[in-house]
Symmetry: C2
Amino acid sequence: MSINALEEIFHPQAMAVVGASEDSATVGYDFVRHLLDFGYRGEIYPVNPNYRKVLGIKAYPSLRDIPGTVSYVICCIPASKVLDLLEDCSQKGVKAVHLFTARLSETGRRDAIKFENKILKQASKKGIRLIGPNCMGIYYPKEGLSFNYDFPKEPGSVGAAFQSGGAATDLIRLASLRGIRFSKVISYGNALDYNESDFLDYFSQDSETKIILSYVEGVKDGKRFFNALRHAASTKPVIIVKGGRGESGTRATASHTASLAGSIKVWETAFTQAGAILARNLDEMTDLAASFYFLPPITGLRVGISGGGGGKNVLSADECEEAGLDVIPLPLEIREEVRSKAPPIWDWIGNPADVSIMQGVNFGASDMLQMMATNQNFDLLIANITEDRPASKQEMTWRLKGEVEGYIKVKKENSKPLLVVVGEKSLGIEDYSNWRWKLIGELRAQLIAANIPVYPSVGRAARAIKKSIDYYVSRG
Amino acid sequence: MSINALEEIFHPQAMAVVGASEDSATVGYDFVRHLLDFGYRGEIYPVNPNYRKVLGIKAYPSLRDIPGTVSYVICCIPASKVLDLLEDCSQKGVKAVHLFTARLSETGRRDAIKFENKILKQASKKGIRLIGPNCMGIYYPKEGLSFNYDFPKEPGSVGAAFQSGGAATDLIRLASLRGIRFSKVISYGNALDYNESDFLDYFSQDSETKIILSYVEGVKDGKRFFNALRHAASTKPVIIVKGGRGESGTRATASHTASLAGSIKVWETAFTQAGAILARNLDEMTDLAASFYFLPPITGLRVGISGGGGGKNVLSADECEEAGLDVIPLPLEIREEVRSKAPPIWDWIGNPADVSIMQGVNFGASDMLQMMATNQNFDLLIANITEDRPASKQEMTWRLKGEVEGYIKVKKENSKPLLVVVGEKSLGIEDYSNWRWKLIGELRAQLIAANIPVYPSVGRAARAIKKSIDYYVSRG
């Protein structure tokens, strides 16, 4: 595939939203809103015979009535009207149509499947490329394209091709709260024309994209897909989630994107052989993306842990070890250094370094991390935010702020990979104004701003890091 | 063990905090503060020769100077002074001492271990019972006892015996945000006198406790512990986390609570044979506690899922099936009912019921759940909060509020077990004032107030529920 055709779609000269609307309960409203909110710089043409203006922009009864050229159309009208629209598109010289339009092959209905094929034939005949149907289209912050509210406006280096628009939305929200930013995200639904392989090919060549995420339920052409995947994985990390792994999920993929899912073992073996990194769900995909996004390549397993107290430490060690990391005993040279700085704990402190025993010594979690950062025995460092301290608001605020400042200093002064665990919580609305959870939110934002990845638990961090280590080791 | 001795500890007539302080950076301040904040009704005696008052309460130079009787002492002074304190306690007729005091056997130092034994001997000779050393003591909201700030003041029915005070704190925060409330929580540290078996015995007889949680790193007497565990598990659900499972975690338990951890396979086999429910970490323990706390006994595996759209649904089905639940196809009688209410989707909708295909029909996720709730083919229901909808603030707020109202109605009108998935997020401080995450916080609080358990992901919900089903099924 030539990169050019898709490149043109990502940089449309002018856009029309067909089925644009003033009714904020419709996507015809949303898509125009997004172009405005995200600062799309080309011409925007709302199309709807029932409106003279949509969101303050002149609307047109039909595509043909638009005076200028239109390169890209977002189609929010019912399927039955798509063939006529394609005719109009052809006359206007439209290059590509994103069909948000659904209720086609994913319904499983024979006439809908036939009609979907008719759409493809018509589009091919007219030289119009399609994204979708039954999808959310493109989020490309640099170009001002989005398919939901409140996505980050700053661009980043993660590219994602998702068969599901809902899953893409979830992923963008999960990942962006963790500080990850995107080059381009494509939700492609039923993949009638452009499909998963096209997007993999595109991302493997795209200089804006350093990490590729893929969510697939099924693929159009298995052989082509695995070739595309192998090629993409040879250029950058590719993290993949397969939806529809079991009997019920497979049933669900059929009615979602009309995909035939097939045996999960066959899929996963093929993914692995192609060099892709498997994730079970979007949480794990986010954890993996954070590792590749924020951390330099890690090829050793020896982890130093600090910040937790007591049982938290014990469980941290367990979860790291169970994930395959090597929680080495504290090196003697560090013990000697502790002896000079904090005599009461030098023979007793270990790895993980327990902060609960640091009472009364002028020595904290970040001092320990600093020693580990300059010690060649450690390949990576994990800091646990010490949330469990039995302390008052003043004391807790002072200590945790100091702790996080220390971590940021360690990060700035050393090249050793460092990640921080900040637990996620099921906050109720009243908790949003509680000092404790606000403090956690502040610390998390500070860490992310300092380019330190945060993970919701040690177990999730350790499992993601181990997979990234496996990836780097296998690449030599 | 007689329940009476511990019962006396849980209902102290008068309490002394030895090492009480006006310095809010010390636990000697915190413990007095907690008694005041949580409304302890007996006499409070701060003890410290350096203060005439602590937090407005008259302080005494020593325990002997207190005019009234003292039944329970919280000891925050260094280990070296504990023997003298025990002498004073004996003269005052003190029944029990909670030794927050640490740096004893957990340091691994021979002299500290010897000294700890001396403390035990002295206490035994004087007829004084000990909790700890190296622990946080008791959280008993009904009695006004606590060991941290901001724990819930309302009592509940979960009892917990934790070797680690930090882990206990983490657990109380995680669980209370999920709506779980506690009868009594004990952090018992080095378990010099009262130990894990005593607390299990106590909780198995305690009428305020319906569910028992236990965090152990090591046990004092293996045979006694497994007998106590078997007995406790025969009376109520016992959920247990073992800290120190691997090499490094075992090393960490030694310096944390001076426990010898032993082979994890032996432990886990014994736990399972005793009828306890195993959890890997505090997140899983919280999920399990939520299942037993909020839901009636479930003995069947057939789950109905609604609320998610597209890929979220597909992955929901996968994760439920992988956890061992049975995501059955939509029963025909429900399909017929949908045909009459929402003709455009009747042949297409499935289980999980995809909300993203419900556009333009007057039919939502909670309508689907209502049908599943009255259908005998389902054993339990999972609702997914539809966060991924491509909608504006107004539309999203209206829809999600309606969705949750619907779930609460389903719960009120039916006896079928229902749980709701509301994703946890790594919010930064600015996100706390964003309408989207505030809305999620409001909905979560509403669901919990309606006694509907919330889980952070479908996978975590499904795995916890499956373990609770196994528990109920094994009990016939």
